[in-house]
Amino acid sequence: MPENNSQSNCRPDSCVQNNSASRACTPYLPTRAILSKITEMAYDNFLFEFEQIDPIFRSCLPGQFVEIWIPGAGESPISVCSGSVGETLQLLIRKAGRVTKALFNLKPGDWVGLRGPYGHGFPVDLYKGKNVCMIAGGLGVAPLRSVWQYLIEHRRDYGRLTLIYGMKHSDEILFADELIALRHSQKLELFLAAEDVTVCHIANLEIEAGRVTDLLDLAELSTDMQVAICGPPVMYRFAVERLRRLGIADENIWLSLERHMKCGIGKCGHCYIGGKFACQEGPVFQLTELANMHEVIEYPREKIQI
């Protein structure tokens, strides 16, 4: 018989679902949530809203993720995309494969399973009193939306806020209405770029032709800024190089890394990155943490000559 040093994370309500409140239940047991609304954003990206969620999801912090389960199809890790979670949970999901496609076959009223929230998100407490720059590439805007919404909900606690958002094609812009409102509110400075710009179908949103890295120069970042980044792996090395050139220290740069995640709780081994569980110690890492880690392709090892 083994030594037992477990501290069960089992929540009474999910055990009730199983009529066995008396003992620890499996940590892979999701709780049910009802799909309430689907909003098309752009191409294969939709905003899904869920109701009757387990109260545990109210504790979601910016940059954390949940495991969403479509019965019969499987589970996928998806970032929390709102600054706080109340009665509904919002997830921005791109149609990718088996699980995410199955989600697109559901209609409001259908149920899914949810587990989480998991992982360490962006350090919004550490950002207090500081200037914060958020850099999003493509779908990376989803987790960063949780950051900007959170910072704006607590606007007085933070200094200058900058959002830089790049995409391949201007038609792929996500959360356009919210971005227009943000630009008007002047609560944060907004910079948008697309590698391909067609005449913007969304009024009042100027999208520069170019990449995220081009915007970094335009945005006139100050060297004391805290930087939160999320995007495709290739984006990181260019963004980090540019940030270093602008004089921003590695310890002020925070990256959200995507890895294959199955369990979300440090058991299945899929998300290992240089020997650390991305699902537990990440997905958000401070750039300095990555310096000595193997297998981090997002970390540019060579130092920049200024």
């Binding site: 018989m1 030594e3 940590p27 047991l29 049910r32 792996p233 899929h270 990155i273 569980f277």
Partner: protein, 358 residues
């Protein structure tokens, strides 16, 4: 070193081998007894046994390590229907696992740490709790190198441990369940005498001297760190078939996948946990065609690192226990851990002496 050296005298007993049948009867009263049996000319496997005669007492490593009893290759964790989601109760059959060697006991200790920490895996823990584990001494063959990994003497993972001292067994209890069993078996046991302790000691000394395979592991972590870019990995990777034979046989490989099995009309079904292998191509692949370990070289190095350096998991140390299973099961002959370590150490030492010369 002896298993008994750290233990207190009252906990040691002897059993004449001639009385083993009675001992077996007592074991069988607790639950189904599983023990190593010979399944082919050269291989052994844990199987349910009903009599002591079936047991291969001198078995070398079994094909699969005993992790399979608590962490089966495929296990239903969850079921669902249109009304709800339910935890699938593990099938709890009390298991008495007889004859687990020190390397495998160390392996169980590592699995216990992983599955009991943080978000504890209740399926593993409950099956583990419904078990009684009897450790057994063994003699190394040419592939065993548990001595180098420090797992040659059992320190945990068992309830009682039997050392073969010729005509008798020298028996020690480790856990309260072990003590209880000893109390039950009292009529057929004798308290160990000084002479018995000496015989036990002698066995372990003889065994320590019998290892022919191994390396000095004091600098293993540093070596793994420093030789990350050694070209040996490329040579090994070129020969690796990514077949994943090395991971299920390893007592400390714990990676898994979670998969859905839907009923035909998809209104009910189940979710299973299945053994996975980090050697498979898609193990670290994410959407957008990014694979963080695209080649066999990347994957092999990753696996070796887990075994010889360790990750920041709940165990946080090297996880190879030196059982030699991967070495004998790799069809390409590249999991000769001892040979790999020695080659890396030579390269590492060469660098150090170059450094000293400069």
């Amino acid at each position: 070193m002896s298993v008994s050296s750290e233990k207190n005298v009252q906990k040691s007993f002897t059993l004449p081998k001639s009385d083993f049948d009675q001992f077996f009867t007592l074991l069988a009263q607790m639950g189904t007894v599983y023990a190593a049996v010979k399944v082919s000319e050269q291989s052994f496997a844990f199987r349910a046994v009903t009599s002591a005669k079936q047991i291969a007492f001198d078995a070398i490593r079994t094909i699969l390590p005993p992790k399979k009893f608590f962490y089966p290759p495929s296990e239903t964790l969850i079921t669902y229907d249109k009304d709800g989601i339910y935890e699938n109760e593990p099938e709890l059959e009390f298991k008495v696992i007889f004859g687990v060697h020190p390397c495998d006991l160390a392996g169980l200790g590592i699995m216990d740490k992983i599955f009991s920490s943080g978000h504890a895996d209740s399926h593993y823990m409950r099956q583990r709790e419904a078990s009684f584990v009897i450790g057994h001494s063994c003699m190394p063959d040419k592939h065993c190198f548990c001595q180098s990994m420090g797992s040659d003497c059992a320190k945990s993972g068992y309830d009682i441990f039997l050392t073969d001292i010729d005509s008798d067994y020298f028996i020690e209890a480790l856990t309260p369940a072990g003590d209880q069993f000893i109390a039950l078996a009292q009529p057929i046991l004798a308290g160990a005498t000084d002479k018995d302790h000496e015989r036990n000691h002698h066995f372990w000394e003889t065994r320590s001297a019998a290892f022919t395979n191994g390396f000095n592991s004091s600098n293993l972590k540093v070596t793994m760190e420093g030789e990350w870019d050694n070209k040996l990995w490329d040579e090994l990777g070129e020969r690796c078939l990514s077949c994943g034979s090395c991971t299920p046989v390893c007592p400390t490989c714990y990676c898994f996948d979670l998969v859905d099995i839907a009923s035909l009309n998809n209104d009910s079904g189940s979710r299973k946990r299945e053994w996975d292998s980090c050697q498979f191509t898609g193990f670290a692949k994410v959407n957008g065609d990014f694979n963080f370990r695209p080649t066999p070289v990347d994957r092999l190095k990753f696996w070796y690192r887990h075994k010889l350096h360790g990750f920041d998991d709940a165990y946080a140390d090297k996880t190879c226990v030196g059982c030699g299973r991967c070495t004998v099961s790799c069809p390409s002959g590249i999991d000769d851990i001892v040979a790999v370590v020695k080659a890396l150490q030579v390269s590492s030492a060469a660098k150090t002496s170059e450094g000293a010369d400069a």
